[in-house]
């Protein structure tokens, strides 16, 4: 069965072609080169011509190298032994620990039957007011963090990994800078969160094909843990690198590019990964938070654009803050009615006032006359940005709501806030002078 083929017909980029019989689509093979062994997977069959993408890349592959087909698709080991470990994109350890081979499960499995999904009802607390109060993260949600390169998105992810109230964190790194990888590791080790974390990391210097495997392998493991009743949070960074590696392979395979060189199935490829976010009836859940850097701060770039159509909202990271405009958690309505009676009203009211603040700010910069109301708004906006929006603020939801009332009462009279009278009666802080 495991016949070895010793003649490689063509090598183009990371794709090699061999003449072989009886091979199944998506099967795995081992390619032995003078540099060692690499896995490869079948991506196209044409008569007896079998095209494979080589995980370690095509560089250094010789036409005389050996290809041995394994007769099964890509798999990953699944057990509690994964916890606290670090692997690369093809599931090999990169932390000097032992290789895991028990209980292999396939990756990129079938889609969940929509009839077996349930509506999300639980929030995930992160301790970040801009998330907890204004755009609550909900279990089983899929949300991207749209960011310009250079923003502290990885620090944000690391903080969420440390603080999020879930059972398990899976971190999928794609094209990570090596320093970023190390600082992720350090942060989690120092914070003592390593024992509930699994890393699948592809760094910028690793072969491209492995980058493509990271989401699949991370999500396959997450899905299994969820089926066992665990609440899993999958953090992916950065999905734009993933899309770029799809592009690279597609071009190598002579596919007709559709938009800025990306393959026509970019939407489907992204969706089949994001749609792994699920709340299983009677078991656990998978939540996905994925960084998508926007090349040139352009949200209409194909990667953020297609992502926006797939995900349930988005966080915009701009100037080191999560922007209240544009950011949206489509599922927050499902949870913020039960958290605290003032949550919804305060959230809407504060954002409306913040929008008014922005207008006043614009007016000021245009040199129009400032009214008393404008000045109040500017005070409010400054406090809001300092005490709630700043990413270093780290307080639980209830404290953040109290803080919100404090800011309101410091800047406005109760009628000016536009909030309902009953709420004001029960939440307005007793005595706080403007200072």
């Amino acid at each position: 069965m495991h016949k070895v083929y010793t003649k490689i017909d063509s090598i183009a980029g990371n794709v090699i072609t061999v003449a072989a019989e009886g091979i199944k689509n998506e099967d795995l093979a081992v390619l032995s080169t003078r540099d060692g062994e690499s896995l490869a997977s079948v991506i196209k069959l044409d008569g007896s011509h079998v095209s494979l993408q080589v995980f370690a890349g095509g560089r250094g592959v010789s036409t005389g190298d050996n290809v041995r087909f394994l007769g099964h698709p890509m798999e990953v080991s699944f057990s509690d032994n994964l916890l606290g470990r670090i692997f690369n994109g093809s599931g090999q350890p990169r932390d000097n620990g032992p290789e895991l081979t028990e209980n292999m499960i396939p990756i990129g499995g079938p889609s969940v039957n929509p009839a077996k999904r349930i509506l999300a009802t639980k929030m995930i607390r992160t301790g970040i007011p801009m998330i907890d109060v204004f755009n609550t993260l909900v279990e089983s949600q899929k949300l991207p963090i749209f960011s310009v390169s250079g923003e502290p998105y990885n620090d944000l992810l690391a903080r969420i990994a440390m603080q999020a109230e879930v059972d398990l964190i899976i971190l999928g790194g794609m094209g990570l800078k090596y320093d970023d990888y190390l600082s992720f590791k350090e942060t989690l080790e120092e914070g003592g969160a390593m024992s509930r974390t699994i890393f699948f990391v592809h760094t910028a210097s690793d072969p491209t094909v492995e980058c493509m495997l990271v989401p699949d392998i991370s999500l396959a493991v997450a899905e299994r843990f969820a089926l066992e009743g665990k609440r899993v949070l999958v953090l992916l960074t950065d999905m734009t690198n993933f899309a770029d590696s799809l592009k690279e392979i597609a071009i190598t395979m002579d596919q007709v590019p559709s938009n800025r060189g990306y393959p026509g199935d970019l939407y489907s490829s992204l969706a089949s990964r994001y749609e792994k976010a699920v709340d299983f009836e009677g078991a656990g859940s998978v939540t996905i938070l994925a960084v998508t850097t926007m090349p040139g701060d352009d949200v209409t770039h194909p990667v953020p654009d297609n992502t926006g159509y797939i995900t349930e909202g988005q966080y915009y990271l701009k100037n080191g803050r999560i922007e209240p405009f544009g950011s949206l958690s489509r599922l927050k309505q499902l949870v913020n009615k039960d958290s605290r009676d003032d949550h919804r009203a305060l959230m809407d009211g504060m954002i409306k006032l913040y929008a008014a603040y922005k207008e006043s700010l614009e007016k000021k910069s245009m040199g129009f006359q400032m009214s008393d109301w404008d000045r109040k708004l500017i005070d409010y906006g400054t406090m809001f940005e300092r005490d709630l929006m700043d990413l270093s603020v780290n307080i639980p939801l209830e404290k953040a709501l109290d803080k919100g009332w404090e800011i309101l009462s410091a800047c406005f009279t109760p009628e000016e806030t536009g909030l309902r009278t009953e709420l004001i009666m029960s939440h307005w802080p007793e005595k706080l002078d403007r200072s």
Binding site: E21, G22, I23, K24, N25, E26, D27, K44, L45, D46, G47, S48, P73, G108, G109, P110, S111, V112, N113, P114, A115, K116, R117, I118, L119, A120, S140, Q255, V256, P257, S258, N259, G264, D265, Y267, S268, A271, S272, Y274, E275, K276, V278, F280, V299, T300, H301, P302, D305, N306, G308, Y309, I310, E312, G313, Q314, F325, L328, R330, L331, F368
Partner: protein, 587 residues
């Protein structure tokens, strides 16, 4: 005719090349045999003895040499009683039954009978010796809120048939023989309540197509008053992500005044389908007193399900719609989103190595989209009754740019365009349909001259607001400023609607006419205000009263009280009413 057989010679993504011996038909269904598993596929190109097929499932594990069985049938759906309330995937597999059989995941190669085998209470309407034509009614069974007409199968194409045998009134399974017909050549045809029809072929068994005239009420003010959709018409909703396309469709699927709603969720998020799935069985349809689910069919091929079945899902949807139209019912098909379907075509076209058109979409994109929307229509059936299929499709243009091929191809063939704007949704102005850019060719519930008058004020108000950004409030004349305030008020109290509010969420026609007339008078009135502050204050008051009025139950006590309140406020400041406006009011 013996069915052809073949074997796999190549695989590229979800395209499988097969070498075939014997005859094959374009668009015929074939199965790739993988041991016990049968993978459904459709023939999309034939070149000599090499056939290209799109597989409706994942192609992992298929190898060169695997056997292929052709069926000789085009991709078809099963039609008969029991369709209402079902949740299907794109190939008409009932998803709840699949879940029972396979658990959490959609397993490959599992296909389930679309219609449950249940007993139906059949009442015949023909007798032995009667002559019937295809699509004629031969009996009926009660299905939920309707009497489901059992018809002569549409696939019997030769003119007329004589009823040889018809069963007596009683309970029968849907696959029991209920009648035997003979054609003019003496061949007999056995009929059950079910029959099949190929999805890509429009059902054309009617006397004539009529011009869509009557508005289809959606209970969304902005649509019914300004951008109406006719029964039997078509409309599209393009919009950038997050602008509320799906929410708008969900609202329409709830409140639309039609007999049946078919939701084709094509390549979109699963979570949204789940919302509908869990909520509809609990929501009561005020028109029938039964749950909304009883008038709904959901076809869902979410974004993570195999791509080829996406194309099938919109066709499955429209075929089911046409089937119920044949019973003289008004059916609304909501397709969300047609862009995903177009992308599926693009993917396949790429694999077939066809020469790409604009943005790599295939050159035939426009004609395929046109053909799909043309399946909507108002028709007079052979028995004189009238039925309609209305199609509303969302479009998800890349980058929110309406210049792209799918939006443009759609705009050419639809009767109404509801373009969503990012600006409006960012400002939380819902529904985020752009009232200035959007258009409709249909007649709405309110006199066109009146709505035109209101639209003119919207346009003028927009101009003034643009100008004000440059010259500031200081540099704007009081007259212009009042027009701006009127436009703002119209937007806030009429165009925007709170879909979460139990009263404001769905506004009937009578109320729309009544409230619009009131606002129309305000738009055409001159009030005594000396300064901009006074004007702003007055219109803030009017707006507040109208918003509160919107929240009062139609014709309730509160409603009358608020109205009186508003009238008092208006009368106090009224100077004169535009003569043009007065003319319409008197009529």
């Amino acid at each position: 005719m013996a069915m052809s057989k073949g074997r796999v010679v190549g695989i590229n993504g979800n395209m499988v090349s097969v070498e075939v011996d014997g005859d094959v038909t374009l668009n015929e269904v074939a199965y790739i045999l993988l041991g016990e598993t049968r993978v459904k596929s459709e023939v999309i190109r034939i070149r000599g003895d090499i056939v290209s097929m799109q597989a409706f499932e994942m192609t992992g594990g298929i190898g060169v040499g695997d056997a292929v069985e052709f069926t000789g049938e085009m991709l078809s759906v099963e039609l008969g009683p029991g369709l209402l309330g079902q949740v299907y995937d794109g190939l008409q597999n009932p998803l709840p039954e699949l879940a029972e059989k396979c658990g959490f995941f959609l397993e490959r190669g599992v296909y389930i009978q679309a219609l449950p085998r249940t007993k139906w209470d059949f009442t015949p309407s023909v007798k032995k010796g009667d002559v019937v034509r295809p699509a004629a009614m031969i009996g009926e069974v009660p299905e939920g809120i309707f009497n489901h007409k059992i018809m002569v199968p549409f696939s019997l194409r030769s003119g007329s048939y004589t009823v040889e045998k018809i069963v007596k009134k009683g309970k029968y399974f849907n696959d029991d023989e209920i009648a035997v017909l003979t054609d003019s050549d003496g061949n007999s045809h056995s009929l059950t309540m079910n029959f099949t029809w190929p999805v890509k072929k429009a059902i054309d068994l009617y006397e004539e197509r009529l011009k869509p005239v009557d508005p289809m009420i959606t209970k969304v003010r902005l649509i019914d008053t300004f951008l109406p959709v006719a029964k039997g018409g078509t409309y599209c909703i393009p919009g950038p992500f997050g602008a509320g396309k799906t929410v708008l469709q969900q609202i329409t699927s709830r409140h639309a005044e039609v007999d049946i709603v078919i939701i084709a969720a094509c390549g979109e998020r699963a979570g949204e389908v789940v919302e509908t799935l869990k909520e509809f069985p609990e929501l009561i349809d005020p028109r029938t007193g039964k749950t909304l689910m009883e008038r709904t069919i959901i076809i869902c091929n979410t974004s993570s399900m195999p791509v080829a079945a996406r194309e099938a899902s919109v066709y499955t949807g429209v075929t089911l719609a046409e089937y119920y139209r044949q019973m003289g019912l008004d059916v609304l098909l909501l397709a969300d989103s047609t862009s995903r379907w177009a992308q599926a075509m693009r993917e396949m076209s790429g694999r077939l190595e066809e020469i790409p058109g604009e943005e790599s979409f295939p050159a035939y994109l426009e004609s395929v989209i046109a053909n799909f929307y043309e399946r909507a229509g108002l028709v007079r059936l052979y028995d004189g009754s009238v039925g309609s299929v209305t199609i509303g499709g969302t479009v998800s243009p890349a980058g929110g740019n309406f210049e792209e091929p799918v939006t443009q191809a759609t705009l050419k063939v639809v009767g109404a365009f509801h373009g969503l704007s990012r600006e409006r949704s960012d400002a939380r102005k819902y529904p985020a349909i752009d009232p200035l850019d959007s258009w409709s060719k249909y007649q709405g519930v309110i006199d066109l001259k009146m709505t035109d008058y209101a639209r003119k004020i919207l346009f003028r108000g927009d101009e003034v607001s643009q100008m004000m950004k440059v010259v500031g409030e200081e540099g704007t004349s009081l007259e212009d400023y009042i027009i701006y305030l009127k436009a703002e008020m119209l937007d806030a109290v009429y165009l925007q609607q709170n879909s979460f509010d139990p009263v404001d969420g769905a506004v009937g026609v009578d109320r729309q006419k009544y409230v619009f007339t009131k606002i129309f008078v305000i738009l055409g009135s001159e009030y005594s205000v000396e300064t901009k502050e006074a004007a702003r204050h007055l219109f803030n008051q009017i707006r507040q009263k109208l918003v509160d009025w919107n929240g009062c139950e139609w014709k309730g006590k509160q409603f009358a009280m608020m109205e009186k309140d508003l009238e008092e406020l208006l009368q106090k400041r009224l100077v004169s009413i535009d003569s043009e406006v007065e003319k319409y009011i008197e009529r």
